[in-house]
Symmetry: C2
Subunit: 255 residues, 2 copies
DNA sequence: ATCCGCCCTGACGTTGCGTCAGAGTCAAGG
DNA sequence: CCTTGACTCTGACGCAACGTCAGGGCGGAT
C-alpha cells in the first residue's frame, strides 16, 4: 500500500484518485455515505485506502443511476444489491426507450420541416404528440415515481405465470360479480364482500406495497382501464369502478 | 371552437386537456412561461383556446428535454427553435450512449456474478470502471454543463476541416514557442504576445462562447492534456500551461 | 344555509452536488 | 519569523420542475 508518505490522503488528492470533487466528498460526509475514519486536530479529513475502496464502489453505483440514499444499504447487503441491479437494469432500459422516442420525434419533425418551406407547428405538434402517446401507453410512467416504477417492474418479474393466471381470472370474475349488483346499495353486505375481495386482489397484485397501491388508486381515480400488460385486458366500465370506490369508502367511513 | 359554454377553461379542465397538473400551470404562470390572459374578479385563472395551443407546444418541447427557461425564446424565434432542436438531438443521442454503457455495465457484471458462486466486488468494480472509462474519454462530460455540452457538440459540426487543420497547426506552433521562452518573465512582451495568441486561438476554438471557455479553463486547471478529439494530440507539459496561465494573469492584473 | 369540489397563494421538499463567503492551516521561500 | 500560496473547513444559497401540504376563499347544487 503506497498510501503516500503520510499513510492517508487529504481531500484533494483523495478526490482526484476517485475522480470526484472535494465538494462531493463533503457531501458524502454530511449525508453519512462516506465518512473519513479520522480527522486531524485541526479538522482536516483523513481518508484511508479503505475509504477509497468504498468510494469507488459508491461511484460505480452512482454511475448506474442508483440514488445515493440507497447505496449504504446496498453496500451492506449483497442480496439487496443484486435485487437493485436487476431493477435498475429495467429502469434504465425504460429510460432508453423514452430517449429513443424523443430522438425519433425530433428527427421526424426535422424531416417534415425540411420538406416544407416554412415551419408548420400543427404538423410538428401532431407528430410529437403521436409519439408521446406511445410513451403514455406505458401506464406506469404517469402514476409512479421512478422508485415506485422500479418496484412495479421488479414485481412483474417475480410474478409466476400461475399467479398471473390466477389473479387475472379472479379479477375477471370479480368484475362480473360487481356488474351484477351495480344498482344496489354500496353499503350492503354483498357490496362490502366484493369490496373486500377487491382489496385482497389489489394486495396480491401490488405485493402489499403501499406506494404501488397509491399509484394504482391515482390511476383509477381518473381513468377507468386496467393496464393491458401481459395479454389480459382488465377493462371495466366506469360504473363498476365507481361502485367499488363507493363501497370501499363506506367501509372506511364505517370503521 | 367549442371552448365550453363559458368561453374559457378553469385550471383543472385546462390541465386535463393538455395532460398536465394544475400545479404545473401554477408553476408556468409564476415563471412567466404561460400566463392566462385574464383572471376572474376572485382571482381564478381563465385559460383560452390560444393558451391551450401554447401549452401544447410547451409540452412538446419539454418532452424533448428542453429546459423551460429556453422555451419562451424558442417559441418566439423559429430559427432559434431549429437550432435548439438540432443541438437537442445530439444531446439526446449522447445521453442514450451513456445509458447504453450503464446497461452494458450491469449486464456484464450480472453475468460474471452469476458464473461466480459469490459476489466479487473487485471484478464487479473493475468491469464497471472500464466502461466508465469509455465514458470519461468523452472529455466534455467532465467539464461542461449539459447545456454547454450541447453547444460544444454543435460547434464540432460547424467546424470545417480546413479550420480544424489550421487551428491545430497553430496550436502546435504556439506550444513550441511557449516552450522556448518558458524560463522568462511571464510579464515580458514576448510572453504577453504569446498569451494574446493563446487567447485568440481559444476564442476560435470555442467560438467565443464564454461558457465553453470556462469549461476549457476548468479542464486546464487540473489536467494538462488537450482533448484528443479529431486525430491531433495537443498534449503539453504542465510548465507550458502554467506559464501561459501566469502570463494571462499578469495581463489581467495590468489592466 | 351548507356542503362538496375546485381555486388561490405561500412555502418547504426533492437530488446531487456547484459555487461563493469567510476563516483557518500547512509547508516553503524570503 | 513572517509571508505567500495552496489547501482545508463550515455554513448557506442555487438549480430544475414541479409535488405536496397548509390555510383559507369561491361557486353551484341541494
Amino acid at each position: 500500500m503506497k498510501t503516500n508518505t503520510k499513510g492517508w490522503y487529504r481531500a484533494h488528492e483523495f478526490a482526484q484518485l476517485a475522480g470526484v470533487t472535494v465538494r462531493t466528498l463533503h457531501h458524502y460526509d454530511r449525508i453519512g455515505l462516506l465518512k473519513p475514519g479520522t480527522r486531524t486536530s485541526s479538522g482536516y479529513r483523513q481518508y484511508t485506502e479503505r475509504d477509497l475502496a468504498r468510494l469507488e464502489q459508491i461511484v460505480v453505483l452512482k454511475f448506474l443511476g442508483l440514488p445515493l440514499k440507497e447505496i449504504p444499504d446496498l453496500l451492506r447487503d449483497e442480496s439487496a444489491l443484486f435485487d437493485a441491479l436487476r431493477r435498475q437494469r429495467i429502469v434504465l432500459s425504460e429510460k432508453r426507450r423514452r430517449l429513443d422516442r424523443a430522438i425519433a420525434a425530433i428527427e421526424k419533425a426535422a424531416q417534415s420541416l425540411r420538406s416544407q418551406h416554412g415551419p408548420d407547428w400543427n404538423l410538428f405538434t401532431q407528430i410529437i404528440k403521436e409519439i408521446e402517446m406511445q410513451a403514455n401507453s406505458d401506464w406506469t410512467k404517469e402514476y409512479y415515481s421512478e422508485a415506485a416504477q422500479a418496484k412495479v417492474e421488479a414485481r412483474k418479474h417475480l410474478w409466476s405465470p400461475e399467479l398471473q393466471e390466477r389473479v387475472s381470472k379472479e379479477w375477471a370474475r370479480l368484475i362480473k360479480d360487481v356488474e351484477a349488483v351495480i344498482g344496489e346499495d354500496p353499503a350492503s353486505e354483498k357490496a362490502q364482500a366484493l369490496a373486500a375481495r377487491w382489496k385482497k386482489l389489489v394486495g396480491e397484485f401490488t405485493g402489499g406495497d403501499p406506494e404501488i397501491q397509491k399509484g394504482l388508486n391515482k390511476m383509477w381515480s381518473d381513468r377507468a382501464n386496467w393496464p393491458q400488460e401481459p395479454q389480459q385486458n382488465f377493462q371495466m366500465k366506469p360504473e363498476v369502478q365507481t361502485f367499488i370506490m363507493k363501497a370501499m369508502d363506506c367501509k372506511g367511513a364505517a370503521r
